[in-house]
């Protein structure tokens, strides 16, 4: 069994601050972490390795500092780590990113078969959820997003049964392998890494692949050049105007409740939507 996990090093958005003057991210003191969903993707891969044997390869595209994130993945049980790092990759949007990751995975597949590709459902910095589907599309492998459980996995028959969460409920899908899964956190609970993994990680240096070696990427499809989208403007969300404050003591309870429900309705946050339009995703 060979699983490839793609990860991203992200600033910890629970701790992020934005410079109100420049509208840019204050990197000072913001810890970099492995995208939390990706950690669960990796954990799933490691569980499969423990059950079926084989290996887990982890890869990321990022600056040299992203090697830290890969080393954390080795701690968590990855056998091999590849850092795709080159100035030419810089400024990539999701299309250019999926081009590089797909190219790297092709190269890994050329060395030997890969059974499963695992991605976090999205990165917490951009929240786009686009790279996984993009890579699956480029590689022509089946895609299952929002996976929450691998019910069955058969590397010999090359099939798997995967649960996927949607607004409708949980879809149970049977897929051919290799497939690409983007996962929710419940795909696998994080187990505490054993000490020998940490020892190995402390000595491990990830392989670094650049734009020329071992994959000769098409420069036109890389980085800013290869990215159809650009950020036109970045700004901090307008500070909320102070909200309305109403006092039970002053207005009386019925008036306060009436006002509250009117406001909630106007804000469109009451669950009851129009019955005719109450489609699949209608209710929360």
């Amino acid at each position: 069994m060979h699983a490839v996990v793609a990860i991203k090093q992200v600033p910890d958005t629970t701790n992020v601050r934005i410079d109100p003057d420049t509208g840019t991210l204050i990197r000072e003191g913001v810890p970099a972490i492995v995208n939390p969903y990706d950690v669960h993707a990796l954990e799933m891969a490691v569980r499969l390795k423990e059950r079926f044997g084989g290996q887990v390869t982890v890869l990321t595209m990022g600056p040299p500092k992203a090697a830290e994130a890969l080393i954390e993945c080795v701690e968590q049980g990855a056998d091999r780590a590849i850092l795709l790092s080159d100035r030419k990759f810089g400024g990539a949007d999701t299309l250019a990113t999926s081009y590089v990751l797909a190219g790297a995975i092709e190269a890994i597949r050329a060395e030997g078969p890969v059974d499963l590709l695992l991605f976090g459902k999205q990165a917490i910095d951009g929240d786009t959820a686009q790279v996984g589907p993009g890579v699956a599309t480029r590689l022509g492998v089946p895609l299952i997003t929002y996976a929450i459980e691998i019910e069955a996995f058969d590397p010999l028959a090359r099939t798997a049964i995967v649960h996927r969460r949607t607004e409708l409920g949980v879809e149970v899908l049977e897929t051919a392998l290799p497939a690409l899964l983007t996962v929710e956190k419940e795909i696998a609970a994080i187990a505490r890494a054993p000490l020998p993994n940490l020892v190995r990680a402390a000595r491990y240096r990830p392989e670094v692949w650049d734009a020329a070696q071992p994959v000769a990427f098409d420069a036109a499809k890389l980085g800013i050049k290869g990215s159809p989208t650009v950020v036109g403007r970045a700004f901090t969300p307008a500070a909320k105007a102070p909200g309305e404050q109403i006092e039970v003591a002053a207005l009386g309870l019925p008036a306060v409740i009436e006002r509250a429900l009117t406001r909630l309705e106007a804000a469109g946050v009451l669950a009851a939507g129009p019955p005719s339009a109450g489609g699949p995703g209608g209710g929360p």
């Binding site: 000072e28 003191g29 810890p31 701690e75 505490r192 890494a193 054993p194 000490l195 020998p196 940490l198 020892v199 190995r200 402390a202 000595r203």
Partner: protein, 438 residues
């Protein structure tokens, strides 16, 4: 895998003491593992902010070329004596503090310690983060043979274990090397805030020529409500570090919230202008072991060496700690190298560590100031009394009242006498002298 987890030496803790020991041992050819419980070396560490470089130079003579992440060189230093509404400032600056590398730098531990640990990695130390050592493993004769950690398959073995676990020295206690836990009267709780300011603003406020200059001020008196303790205000590159430390027993006794003491200090008219408009970046707290020479834990056992805060190596009077810790770490490392050469890890052999320490400034200073904590502890209002007196005396001295100077001098003496009898003053002076002279 078992064979992989066998080393020549284990260091517990990635602070200055542990890293210094690890580097020294690795340079001497030992296969050394350093186990750190934080996400990275330094994640749990906090200090006021002044780091003396002499100890670093002894460990890494080429440290300057390795670009340590210091904040600012300390080119001006001294004391503020605060009364509730005034301040006597005694500061020293001069060309003597210039030149690279400087004798002291301000630093932030979550930046400096990872760099220092990285130097250990460069020297061949295996640094394992995110792992808490839970026990020192001993054979049936009580000799340390390794450690257990909180990770699955988490045993590591080595004939020598250096405990650099910090002020909460649970392992040292577990081994029976410390006589009981830290008593609250010999431990200070320090709280600190790092407050972000543009560097040009810092330079304007503190009268600095540029980022190549910095200030370290220790503050006494009203900053701690006159209670035994000190406060500090240090300039970092793009922030100031401000904090206050009080003997824990005082906090307990007076039911004080340390962050309120800090907030009060920050609001002092002599302090507030330096912080105005700053962005609070981080708040933190740390214990400082001030039990001194007479109550230090035993420093060695069979296969065990204790260094740094775990061994209470803090000179509170001179705000020195990291340099003592680094030096102790280095000397422990040298002792471990010797032990490996002789293949003798017994406490008797390791006692060379204590001898080395005794010959160094570490134990000499600790011994000299062995009575300081007791002095403050037994005379808790000493600081407040004298600091307020000095401020009032200064005010009289610097103001013309239309009275003869001789009368003014008598008045100043009177101010002192209101506060303390002549006998009391004499006794305080004696104690202070004894405290200073050892």
């Amino acid at each position: 895998m078992g064979a992989d987890l066998r080393f020549d030496a284990i260091v517990v803790g990635g602070g200055p003491a542990g890293v210094a020991a690890a580097i020294t041992m690795a340079k001497g050819g030992l296969d050394c593992v350093l186990i750190e419980r934080g996400r990275f070396a330094g994640a749990k560490n906090l200090f006021g902010g002044v780091l003396y470089t002499h100890a670093l130079a002894d460990i890494l003579p080429d440290y300057w070329s390795r670009q340590p992440p210091f904040e600012r060189p300390v080119t001006e230093q001294g004391y503020w004596l605060l009364s509730p509404d005034s301040a006597m400032r005694i500061l020293h600056k001069g060309e003597c503090y210039k030149g690279e590398p400087a004798a002291a730098y301000t630093a932030l531990r979550a930046r400096f310690d990872p760099w220092f640990a990285e130097q250990a990695v460069r020297e061949g130390v295996l640094v394992i983060p995110k792992t808490t050592v839970t026990e020192v493993r001993r054979d049936d004769q009580g000799r340390a043979i390794g450690v257990a950690t909180d990770r699955p398959e988490g045993e590591v073995s080595a004939p020598i274990v250096v405990l650099a676990e910090g002020v909460n020295n649970l392992l040292t206690q577990q081994l029976g090397l410390a006589r009981g836990d830290l008593p609250p009267r010999y431990v200070a709780l320090a709280v600190k805030e790092v407050i972000g300011l543009p560097s040009a603003e810092i330079e304007a406020r503190f009268g600095l020529a540029g980022p190549q200059e910095g200030v370290a001020i220790d503050i006494f008196g009203d900053a701690t409500l006159g209670l035994p303790g000190t406060a500090f205000l240090y300039t970092d590159t793009k922030a100031v570090s401000i904090g206050v430390g009080l003997l824990l027993e005082e906090l307990v006794h007076h039911n004080l919230r340390p962050y309120e003491v800090l907030a009060r200090f920050k609001a002092h008219p002599a302090v507030r202008p330096y912080l105005a408009g700053g962005t609070p970046l981080e708040y933190g707290a740390h214990l400082i072991p001030e039990q001194g020479y007479d109550r230090m834990p035993q420093l060695v056992a069979d296969g065990v060496l204790v260094v740094g805060d775990a061994a209470c190596m803090v000179d509170a009077l001179h705000r020195e700690g990291t340099n003592l810790a680094m030096t102790a770490g280095r000397l422990a490392g040298e002792t471990a190298l010797e032990a490996h050469r002789e293949q003798d890890f017994s406490a008797r052999a390791l006692r060379a560590y204590r001898r080395r320490l005794a010959e160094s400034f570490v134990l000499k200073d600790l011994k000299q100031y062995r009575r300081m904590t007791d002095l403050l502890d037994s005379t808790p209002d000493l600081l407040g009394t004298y600091v307020n007196f000095i401020n009032e005396a200064a005010q009289r001295y610097f103001t013309a009242h239309g009275i003869p100077k001789r009368e003014m001098e008598a008045e100043i003496l009177g101010l002192l006498r209101e506060r303390r009898s002549f006998l009391g003053v004499a006794r305080d002076l004696m104690r202070l002298l004894r405290g200073m002279r050892g």
